[in-house]
């Protein structure tokens, strides 16, 4: 058995750890309806795959790994609604795709188009649909990453060293920048969605909630993402369509860097009510990491606190500005 933190894992660690604010935002129906597949079924469907292994179950998808043309990839399966059938050549008007399909399409599109080396890449099989023993499914492949997600790393090894946090910040900012160049916001940046490769580099996962600021809303007005990583403006319904930009992702990255620096969330503690959390994220000035971690660099402190600014205009207006600030203190 491979240790969990050594695997590619598409996890919702907040659920695993009992974070109460996350369960609302996951598709409970989809979770109850996750695909139930065997290795043989997957090998039969994909044809050219071998060495198929089960990895993990997420909110909407089950993740496997398999070797295609000598390279290992992650293979993701999700259930689609039974009444849904895709007629590729049908030129009649069709109803809007169910959300699980729209999200998977966005995830595949984002992985395919995002230029950052720090965003997980699409594998050789794009979005496909199949029916296996009465189950309507979608599937696609993506880069298999050898490493651990930051949530697992935090649990097993404790906080990261400042230099690693700086590297992580720089690389995730590169991914956020590349997404923004496509007009997208990730909306679910958190330790569980960032992997540290065995090489030491970091990679951003799960663009399933990526929000296209000039396209149609995926959420239909509902809050999506993991609430304890929401920026204050994400709670503001009136702001959501017009006001959100990459600076919300910068905020979530700031929360992640804070957690990886201190082992604590800046605005949430176990037992906090939803109201207390909302109040904290919108008005509490977080304790600087240096007051929690002895010897933590003041410069990095300042950057993280700035990323956690209550308004977008208090953060960084360009990803390059944040990168420059982080690079300036690397190695100090």
């Amino acid at each position: 058995m491979i240790a969990r933190h050594e695997l590619y894992c598409i996890t919702y660690p907040a659920i695993i750890q009992g974070h109460p604010f996350c369960i609302d935002f996951l598709d409970k129906e989809a979770m109850a309806n996750l695909p139930n597949l065997t290795v043989e079924q997957i090998e039969h469907v994909l044809g050219n795959v071998s060495g198929v292994r089960y990895i993990a179950r997420g909110g909407q998808k089950v993740v496997w790994s398999g070797v295609i043309d000598g390279t290992t990839y992650a293979i993701k399966f999700a259930s689609t609604p039974e009444e849904f059938t895709r007629e590729e050549d049908d030129d009649t008007e069709v109803e809007a795709d169910p959300e699980v399909i729209v999200r998977a399409s966005r995830e595949v599109e984002t992985m395919r188009d995002c230029a950052s080396p720090y965003m997980v890449k699409l594998g050789p099989i794009g979005l496909n649909f199949v029916e296996i023993e009465g189950q309507s499914l979608l599937y696609f492949t993506e880069e298999f990453i050898n490493g651990s997600d930051l949530r697992s790393l935090l649990e097993s090894d404790g906080p990261l060293a400042p230099d690693a946090i700086i590297d992580m910040g720089i690389q995730m900012t590169d991914a956020i920048k590349a997404l923004w160049e496509l007009g997208k916001i990730h909306r679910d940046i958190k330790p569980g969605n960032i992997m540290r490769r065995t090489s030491g580099d970091f990679v951003l996962l799960d663009a399933g909630l990526a929000f296209d600021v000039i396209g149609e809303s995926l959420s239909g007005g509902f809050l999506v993402g993991t609430r304890i990583y929401f920026s204050p403006e994400q709670f503001d319904y009136s702001n959501r369509r017009t006001g959100l930009d990459f600076r919300s992702d910068i905020f979530a990255l700031g929360v992640t860097m804070y957690e990886m620096a201190t082992g604590r969330h800046p605005f949430w503690n176990r037992g906090h009510s939803s109201q207390a959390f909302y109040s904290n994220v919108t008005s509490l000035a977080p304790e600087p990491p240096s007051s929690i971690v002895e010897g933590f660099p003041q410069d990095l402190d300042n950057i993280i606190i700035r990323m956690l600014g209550k308004s977008p205009h208090l953060r960084y207006r360009k990803c390059d500005h944040l990168t420059r600030a982080l690079e300036a203190i690397r190695g100090h």
């Binding site: 403006e233 006001g243 600076r247 000035a285 308004s311 977008p312 205009h313 208090l314 207006r317 500005h321």
Partner: protein
């Protein structure tokens, strides 16, 4: 040092004097007060003789004032049309055409910065503010399509009352900081048309916060038009430059100055700008200060002070309005010299100056020096409270 001369009617040699004195490092031309051919000739002269920044305020906003005192604008400037109403801003094509004409006029003349057209916004969420945002957005888009254009400053002309609401300002700043633009040219329309350095403390704090967020935190170039003495706290908060002119209507922006009215009025009385008092006082008041034996404490310690000190008394000196204008820029330039540090240090230094000025006023009043309502130092209390509020909201 970054003080620009705010150009207007009757420039004669005032601009070149300020440049010669090195108390100003640039000029912001006003379209309303110059014919295009004269403007072109003057630009050539300045380019040939001075190393200075040349900017041009297209004064597009005058087109929405009725009846506008628009002088050369209708006949000389193709982007201008008198009497525009909100209906004239419906449709992206119309807005784009205003923007293109206004920007093209400036690119053809090689100004060091291009200023976008704008309208006066009374708040951050009213109809006119939305039009201002559309003009800005369209300007950014058009400017980005140009090759080799000089940097764009998005113009904002805001009523003083727009600065009342912090939450509205925050939302507005979220928009401004999301734009990929070189900087902003900010003008505040003052409520009180009387020349004075007073500024409601909360509005001052919010204006300082706006400048700080744009200039310091988000690294935009911020030029503050029609700022005069208030330009000093704005520079302390991070503004790259501020502008002031020779007439009171060029030192502070009043809507009244752009509306048609009957001719008349009295010639301005002679003034003296005192850096220790952080104010422009009447020459007669300087005479009383001299009589009370406090002249040295009030003098700005700039070159043109010699005209006062060489005479037996201020009122018997050869002080003229032209000298007063030059001296005004020299005084502001001297105050500006101390503002090259980080914002917190600038602001703390300025607070110390304000306290010192308050103490000096108290001494002068105790010595029997009479001051008029707008020169009696009350503005210092606004400034002190505004600076302290700014420190708090900016978490400096």
């Amino acid at each position: 040092m970054a003080i620009y001369v705010q150009h207007g009617h009757g420039k004669s040699d005032k601009i070149t004097n300020a440049l010669d004195d090195k108390s100003a490092s640039g000029v912001i031309f006003a379209a309303r007060n110059e014919k295009v051919d004269k403007l072109d000739r003057y630009i050539t002269t300045l380019r040939e003789n001075y190393e200075c920044d040349l900017l041009f305020d297209p004064q597009f906003y005058v087109s929405t004032l009725i009846p506008a005192n628009d002088r050369y604008l209708p006949d000389e400037y193709r982007y201008y049309e008198a009497g525009r109403t909100a209906k004239d801003f419906i449709g992206a094509r119309k807005i784009a055409s205003y923007v293109n004409d206004t920007i093209n006029f400036q690119t053809e003349r090689g100004f060091d910065r291009i200023m976008s057209p704008t309208v006066i916004a009374n708040g951050f969420s009213d109809r006119w503010s939305q039009i201002a945002l559309q003009l800005a957005d369209s300007s950014i888009e058009y400017h980005s399509s140009l090759t080799d254009a000089t940097p764009l400053l998005v113009s904002l002309v805001l009523s003083e009352g727009a600065l009342d609401s912090r939450s509205d300002l925050d939302a507005f700043l979220d928009i401004l900081t999301s734009w990929d633009v070189h900087g902003y040219y900010i003008t505040v329309v003052r409520d009180d048309a009387t020349y004075s350095q007073s500024f409601y403390e909360d509005r001052l704090a919010h204006l300082l916060y706006m400048v700080y967020i744009l200039a310091d935190r988000n690294e935009f170039e911020v030029v503050c038009g029609y700022s005069d003495f208030i330009g000093i706290p704005l520079r302390a908060a991070g503004a790259s430059a501020f502008a002031t002119g020779w007439y009171q209507s060029l030192r502070q922006f009043h809507q009244k100055a752009f509306l048609k009215r009957k001719n008349g009025g009295q010639p301005p009385r002679l003034r003296y700008s005192s850096s220790p008092l952080l104010n422009s006082i009447m020459l007669g008041e300087l005479e009383s200060i001299s009589d009370a034996g406090y002249l040295d404490q009030v003098l700005s310690d700039v070159d043109l002070d010699s005209i006062i000190t060489d005479a037996t008394s201020p009122e018997s000196s050869a002080w003229t309005s032209q000298i007063s204008d030059r001296h005004h820029w020299q005084t502001l330039a001297k105050l500006d010299q101390d503002l090259s540090g980080p914002v917190r240090r600038n602001i703390m230094g300025l607070i110390a100056d304000v306290r010192q000025a308050t103490g000096l006023y108290a001494t002068l009043k105790a010595a029997g020096v009479p001051f008029e309502r707008n020169t009696d130092g009350q503005h210092l209390f606004d400034w002190l409270a505004g600076l302290q509020t700014f420190i708090r909201i900016a978490a400096l």
